[in-house]
Each structure stands twice: as C-alpha cells, then as structure tokens.
Point group: C2
Chain length 318, copies 2
C-alpha cells in the first residue's frame, strides 16, 4: 500500500492540502475556504471530511500530517494569535487533527515548511546548512543548521524579515520601524516605488498607478520594459536584501540561501543586486562561499513543505 | 582511574591547558609560551611534553583533547590563517596532537568553546538554545541551537562581532566598516570614549589619558566614580549591543544570552543599557523572553570550554 503524508497549507483565504508520497508525488489533493466557519472546530471538521473524501478511491496508508500555518509552532503544535486568521488565542491544531486521524501531526510556519520542502524535494537535498527566504506580502525565513530546522527556544526562530536594518526607518506591521520586510517584500517594493516617484522628476509608467492598484509584478514588468523608477526599485530592494543576508551569514554561515516566492520570480532583476550587495558586505570568511539560488520548488511548495515535516522525520528514523 | 579531558586554550601570548574531569574539576594544569618556536611542529612538541610532565604523578586516563584556538575549525580540525599567530596557512593541529597522544582531538574557536563550557559546566546546563557573547579585544560569539553548537557550512558560524550595524561606520580590522565589534568590545569602548571627548566640552578624567594607555577597565572605574563621558560611553556601548542582540534573536530565538569576558565584568553599567535596548528593539514574539545573563564561568573558562568539546561528545554517547 502506498504510504502518504498529508501536507496542509493554511492561508488567509484558502486551505490547500495534498497527499504526498515519499518521493514528492501528489496522490490526491483538495482545498476548502479557510475562514467561513465561526468556530475553529467546525473548520477542522470540514477539512478532515474533505481530506477523507479526496482519498475515497485510493488505497493508501497515512503516515502523518504536516501543517504549515501562520504563527504555527513546532514545539507546541499550536497556532498562536495569527494576524490573518479570524480565530484568536492558542489553537491546538495538532492535537485536534491527531484526535480525528490518529496519526502524528506536526505544525510549523510557512517559511520553515518551505525550507524542509527544499531539503526533501527541492534544491537543498544534500545540504545541512542553508536558508530559504520567502518573498510574499512579507518576508519569511526558514533556516536549517546541522541538518535540522532552527526552531529556537519556543519554536519561533527565523524571523529574518523582522531584523531592523534601518533604525527609525519605515513603519512595520509588527509595531516597530525599519524591519527588513518593510523594504524587501511585495509591499516593500511598492513603498520603494512611491519613495522614488516622490524623489525623482523623471517619467515613469508607474506614475499612473495608485498605490492600492500597484503590485510587485507590475513593477517587474515595468523594469523589464526599461522603466527607470522600476529598475532603481529593484536595485534598491536587492541592495537591502544583500546587505541583510551578509549579516545573517555572519550568524549561521549557510552553504546556500534560496529565494522563494513571487518576488523571486523577477529573476536577475532581483538576484543581480542581491549578489552584488552580498559580495560587497560579506565577511572574508564567507566570501564567495554562500550560494544565492532560486528555489527549486513550484507552486505546490507549501504543501510539499508541510508534507516534508513528516517525511523528514521518517528519513531520520529509517 | 580518573578519566580526564585535556582542555587547551591557545592565546597570542600563552598557551594554557588543564586536565579536567567530567565534573569540571582541574586535576592538573600548565602553560607554555605560544610563539617562541619558529616551527609549529616544535611548538606542538613542547606543548605535549609539558602536558605529559604535568600528569607524571597522577593516575588518569585521557579521554580526549579539546582545543580552543583563534580561527579554529571544528569541521577540519585545523587553524586557518589566525591573525595573531606567527604560523600562517592551514595548521592541522588535531591530526598532529592525535598522532602524539592517540586520543580524539577536537578543535574550535574560543567563543564556541566558551559556549560549550557554559553548557557543560556553567549557567546553561539545561538550555538547548542560547548564545554566549565574549567581550574582549574583539567580540566573539558561540551559538547553541537544538542542543548543538551552530558551526555552519565550513565551521565558522557565529561571527556576531562582524554583523555590520552601522553601514559606512567605524573601520574594522576585517577590512569592512561598521561591524558590531568596532563599537562593542574593549577597543570599541576606547573608541567611543574618544569620540565623546571630541564631541563634548565637559570635564572628564579621561581627557588626561592617551588612547594607547586607555583600557576598558579604566573607563569602568571612571564611570563608577561618576565621570559623565565614561557613563555615556557605557550607555552607548550597551545600546549598540542591545540593538544587535534583538536582531540576532530574530534569527536564532535563544532562551538566554550570556555575556562573558572583561567588559561583562562592568556589571550593571553594561547590562542595564543592553537590557533597555533589547526591550525597545525586540520583536513581540520574543519580548521579555530572552534572558540576558552574566557567564557563570570564571577565569578558567577557556580551558573548561575546550575540555567541554570532549565531555559534550561523551555525554551524547553515554
């Protein structure tokens, strides 16, 4: 019988799951809306019902369930006060799913799941020390050291997006100022465009776009057409990220740093200035040694990463 | 028969060793000058002879040798181009000592040794995620995560002293500018005193001391006598360190950060502003959760830490 791990990715809008074998193949998949139910228990019931229904005609043995969730804690198996979920406080999701399916359940945040996915199914298969930077609305990070995820004391390590890179700088949603993700993220890119439009006088197609309509993808497209503000925005974004990564390298000395997510798809537009700033700012001990690479995972990365929470432990056991 | 690990601390002037039992007791000890011999081989011969002589009248079994050395690499057992040693290139010290004594030999840098010492014999006995900051001429760091030292890809992780905290700031011996240790270290304190003497007009006992005669200890003494420049220097030093530690906490989420070394002996003068800056700059996830503590190791910390390289492995095995 095929053994599968169920990988669940809880987003603000949809919850997506996949039933993944040990090679990373998807045997079944499905999704439900995340926030239509008032009670978290009802949401879990819906999710379990949908998972069971997706497996109705398949002969499999479920090895475990891995869950990637905002503010998901590996240490406690809970979701803690996630800003983009309607249910507040501590949600004991691992315990609840375990009671329904009677298999081991592991929880972590999205970026840690992405890092595990990269290690088990992606570009970090033979690496023991690396980092995945997820570039979305914010900036997340999953860090692997000595072959294991770096969880920290209470399970919330790896908040590289909240390193303060410019004391007194841009307002951050965390309540502080100058955090890396206020510069390096889809939102950060938009803010940088508007800063540059304010600073310079030159023409730019972006002068016709209101802030709320602007997306990082539009900025990338404008840059590819030679728009000077868009080009300068990517240079600035890359410089901020490269400087920060050189600093983080002084802490964890990774073999490679993977960039993942929408913004990473901008390719050389982003990678070139990041590499340049890493080179310029890297301590001699690590110079030319830390690879900057695009993630090898596709759109199903979150699910593969969540499933990797289970397959990673299986591989350690076997 | 008593089992001992030999802990060796290689400094620029002296090489000190201790024969340490599994409880941290010193059974024998000794030292030789580090740099009187032209050839590294002759230095090693002298060191081994001195160790054997110290154990002449003691019945012990040597379990292994731990060595703390500048630029010592755990991964390769070598010393790599240490700035303050006369022998350049790669020194295969683990192999050489192993050939003489026929026991396992482990090498790491001084700060990693201090962190292991804190874990095995000091204040971090029950901690799996913590960090030791060593404050001497420079700033070193040893980081423990998931219960193990964070070595990184090539064994040189934990260079927190070389995080760039002020882009374009003070010249650093590493060739870059604005590294943490140019502000937070004995040398950094001296530089801050001179910067403040230049900026302000007020009286200070430190106006009578040439730069080359000034020590961090003198600044601490002046501060304790109420000297305003000395007091402001410690506030500034603590603020820089607290800001940086809040950032590093966003990467590794430690349970505690231990301060070790000469500057840490300044006590509240340093700890108070560090705590204040950590509080002000800490991400909400870690707020009031990361303890700032003085190291519980004394002057023999370097030797205990080096011996802990061996006892740590023994404990894992047993």
């Amino acid at each position: 019988m095929t053994e599968i791990a169920i990988g669940i990715d809880i987003g603000g809008t949809n919850t997506v799951f996949g039933c993944i074998d040990s090679k990373g193949n998807t045997i079944a998949e499905g999704h439900i809306p995340t926030q239509t139910k008032e009670h978290f228990e009802d949401y879990i019931d819906d999710l379990i019902a949908e998972i069971k229904s997706s497996l109705e005609n398949v002969e499999v043995r479920i090895v475990g369930v891995g869950i990637g969730a905002p503010n998901g804690s590996y240490r406690t198996g809970t979701i803690e006060n996630a800003a983009n979920l309607r249910w507040k406080g501590t949600l004991p999701i691992a315990k609840m799913v375990n009671e329904k399916l009677n298999v081991p359940v592991k929880v972590t945040n999205d970026a840690n799941a992405a890092a595990l996915g990269e290690r088990i199914f992606g570009g970090a298969k033979n690496m023991s020390d690396f980092m995945v930077i997820t570039l979305g609305t914010g900036l997340g990070s999953g860090i692997v050291v000595n072959g294991d995820l770096l969880y920290g004391y209470e399970g919330f390590a790896g908040e590289v997006g909240h390193i303060i890179v410019r004391p007194g700088g841009r307002d951050c949603a965390c309540g502080r100022k100058g955090c890396l993700e206020t510069y390096v993220s889809a939102t950060g890119v938009k803010r940088s465009v508007y800063k540059l439009l304010a600073k310079h006088l030159g023409e730019s197609s972006l002068r016709d776009v209101p802030f709320n309509n602007l997306s990082a993808k539009m900025v990338a497209e404008a840059a590819n057409e030679g728009d000077p503000v868009a080009l300068e925005t990517f240079k600035y974004t890359g410089k901020m990220l490269g400087e920060a990564l050189a600093n983080v390298a002084s802490v964890t000395a990774p073999e490679a740093i993977f960039l993942f997510g929408g913004l990473a798809k901008a390719g050389d537009l982003l990678f070139d200035p990041v590499k340049e700033a890493m080179d310029e700012n890297m301590l001699f001990l690590y110079k030319d040694k830390v690879k900057l690479l695009p993630s090898q995972l596709g759109d199903d990365a979150a699910i593969l990463g969540a499933a990797a929470l289970i397959w990673n432990d299986e591989k350690i056991v076997s």
